[in-house]
Point group: C2
Amino acid sequence: MSPHTSPEHGKEGGAVCPMDYILRMLMGPWTTYIVYNLRTFGPQRFGELKRRVGGISAKMLTERLRTLEGAGLVRRDYEPTIPPKVTYSLTHRAHELDEVLDKLAQVARRWQAEDAAARTLKAAE
Amino acid sequence: MSPHTSPEHGKEGGAVCPMDYILRMLMGPWTTYIVYNLRTFGPQRFGELKRRVGGISAKMLTERLRTLEGAGLVRRDYEPTIPPKVTYSLTHRAHELDEVLDKLAQVARRWQAEDAAARTLKAAE
DNA sequence: CCGGTTGGTTACGATTTGGTACCTACTGGA
DNA sequence: TCCAGTAGGTACCAAATCGTAACCAACCGG
């Protein structure tokens, strides 16, 4: 079995993790930064997003956005002007994750603070 | 910049996503299954876990468990009996994610149901 | 003394991944 | 006239990833 395909072990004893799909989505490289930027700064154009994420290649950004679009988390608005103008925004479905993501970020910040404190303590020894 | 290292762009304009650290942890291959099994069936021995996750190689399981241990999410209890007995369990810190994971699973199940309904609708057309 | 058990480790190798460089087509500015 | 910017697409290539298979240590039962 390939590693990233969902096991789909129908009758195998193992239990299937229901949130696997969502985590698989959020987990792709750069994805958290993209979603975080869209959540923080609102709808943005391709170049703007690329500049803001900082370090991502156009190829990667395109691929990630396409995947997110396919998952129904991102909407792509294409205006065929010259030069073209493409705006990306989070869908209603993506915003269903707001509460979860906020809680997650809260925990993350607490852990970061704790770890920083622990490191300071150890450094002082 | 390597893709999976956190950007750490100190002064670059991009905002750092605080939950990146946690997602980076939960996102590794197989990790969700491992955590899900530990959450569902409680502390388990290595072989038990391996059997239950189904399809994972010993190498991968070891590596994932070591990483989770390093992140403080999993505790490893080693009893040097012959044959050795190693039990893995979730730490207190891991259980701080319970609420978030439950909410996430809730959303995941809703989406799954919605998508299934949509597919049924489309198939009936 | 041979095989079985547990919980790994190590080497190798194929596949996947993701970055770089280069291409489009069009326009506006110097 | 030449260059820059916009939103990508494509080819190529190096590097990381992950599975497979082999091995190991220690002891116990037969």
